[in-house]
Amino acid sequence: MIINGVTIDATFAEAFPMKATRAIITAQNEKWAMISAQAMTGFATSVIACGCEAGIERTLSPEETPDGRPGVAILIFAMGGKGLAKQLETRAGQCVLTSPTSALFAGIDSDKPIPLGKNLRYFGDGFQISKLIGGKRYWRVPVMDGEFLTEATTGQVDAVGGGNFLVLAQSQPQALAACEAAIEEMRKIPNVIMPFPGGVVRSGSKVGSKYKSLGASTNDAFCPTLKGITKTDLSADIESVMEIVIDGLTKEDIDKAMRVGMQAVCALGAKSGIKRISAGNYGGKLGPFHFHLQEILA
């Protein structure tokens, strides 16, 4: 398949089941809600070393938030429910409780509640106040700027992590420009995050390493500087490859995000130096979710 001069590989991205949750952070203004959200979703690019993958889903207008203030919705993904709960609580405690004027609310309902502010309340040292409003429990924790208001729990849902595609370009600036265009469109899709810095990862990995202590190492088949010395997947005219990784609440959400992302890349086309779009997989043996690039763009 070739779109606007860009070759779409007949391959697929392979993704895994994850557990996810959404939280809503509000503050006096969008600036401070965003600061808190950025802190909470920081150092959360990959479960390999961060414990979770997290990102900002979108900003919320005052009409969309429980307390009528500007807010930000974040999504957190982890490999299991326990890990998710731990990451959520730790991050909420260090990044939202501490952030001036913030409040924290559940962003998703499910029959599996996980603690949001349920245990953060103990920071109140006995002065915390519980309020059951409309069937939901909230905690009011006295802090130095007033009160930290938090919902006790949020919902945990099954999700999908690791959707991806690779952008292969003639030069590094062209690869980055294409990824930026893709991310701009993908951020408009609800229920997904692109957890890497700016949504783009330049260090795609393969499973395994020559070093026993490492489970993953550089994807040498897509490293342009190794074209002549390894079993490469790159043609001579490709000088840079970048990847976009997508986590979503459902397979369909990732489908949508990949579609608009790849369409944005293709719109730039071969004249902008974009040669191919490919994807990372493990032969289809590890992850149950397969995203076939050509099917998505058909």
Binding site: G68, I129, K131, L149
Partner: protein, 270 residues
């Protein structure tokens, strides 16, 4: 199906225990079976048919017409369904109710919704003492649900309140919120003396400046984030509490009762 309507034929001299006539207890009974039920009337037993004219067949929607202040225990342990009372209700209306709604289109007597667990009670008139309170000797009053009073309430509103919300559009008497363990009482009108007496935790939300006991300390003025959420939960009510002009988040906060554990609060609109 039309609402099961019980129209009082005459006002008996002695009080009547109405607790057998709830939606859950009448579920599946036909008119003849309901007519044959007996109610305690003073020291005597009286058949429902002797006291009420019965019409309609939907036992999940009960209407009591010509009700007056000696019909006690209406909606006792109600576990779903709706009861509408045209006229006054006696004592213990909605006592220990677990679910459903009760609407009193008149006044209600003492101990209305005492030890209520869940559900919604509306009193369109006034109500007596111990609204949402605990029975004498018991340590726990209302444990959940919501009470809306459009008139005035008597003394000891929310005595030993454990959880739930009591909304009073009018005035509340002395000892409002006494011995509260938690929960919320909101009063738009005046409150009487000894507000929050021996209150442990919980919130008294007031529209008018009260005369506070010496055991409540001023914690200053604040903007509290939970108040918009609380008011938002009142939006669907047919009440002044649903009015957008009633919404505020700036309050003067008083902590107390310091003679008790002192984790309660009186929030006064500023």
């Amino acid at each position: 199906m039309s609402a099961l309507t019980l129209t009082l034929k005459y006002q008996p001299a002695q009080r009547v225990d109405m607790s057998p006539l709830t939606c859950n207890k009448l579920n599946g009974l036909n008119q003849a079976e309901i007519a044959a039920l007996t109610l305690q009337n003073g020291k005597a037993k009286i058949r429902v048919a002797e006291l009420f004219e019965i019409s309609g067949d939907d036992s999940q929607n009960i209407v009591i017409k010509n009700s007056f202040e000696k019909l006690d225990f209406i909606g006792k342990e109600l576990d779903g369904g709706n009861i509408t009372i045209e006229g006054d209700a006696g004592a213990y209306c909605g006592i220990s109710m677990k679910a459903g709604t009760i609407t009193v289109n008149g006044n209600a007597g003492i101990f209305a919704a005492c030890e209520m667990k869940k559900g919604f009670l509306t009193i369109n008139g006034n109500t007596g003492d111990f609204l949402g309170g605990a029975l004498p000797g018991n340590k726990m009053g209302m444990k959940g649900g919501m009470i809306l009073v459009k008139g005035n309430a008597g003394e000891r509103v929310g005595d030993h309140l454990r959880r739930g919300v009591i909304l009073i559009e009018g005035n509340a008497g002395d000892y409002c919120g006494s011995r509260m363990t938690a929960g919320t009482i909101a009063v738009m009108g005046q409150v009487g003396k000894h507000l929050g007496y021996a209150m442990r935790r919980g919130t008294l939300l007031l529209w008018q400046q009260p005369k506070l006991p010496a055991t409540f300390n001023d914690c200053g003025t604040h903007t509290l984030a939970f108040l918009p959420l609380l008011f938002a939960s009142f939006k669907s009510l047919n009440s002044k509490f649903a009015d957008s002009t009633a919404v505020f988040n700036r309050v003067q906060r008083f902590g107390g009762d310091m003679a008790e554990m002192g984790r309660g609060e009186v929030l006064v609109r500023i």
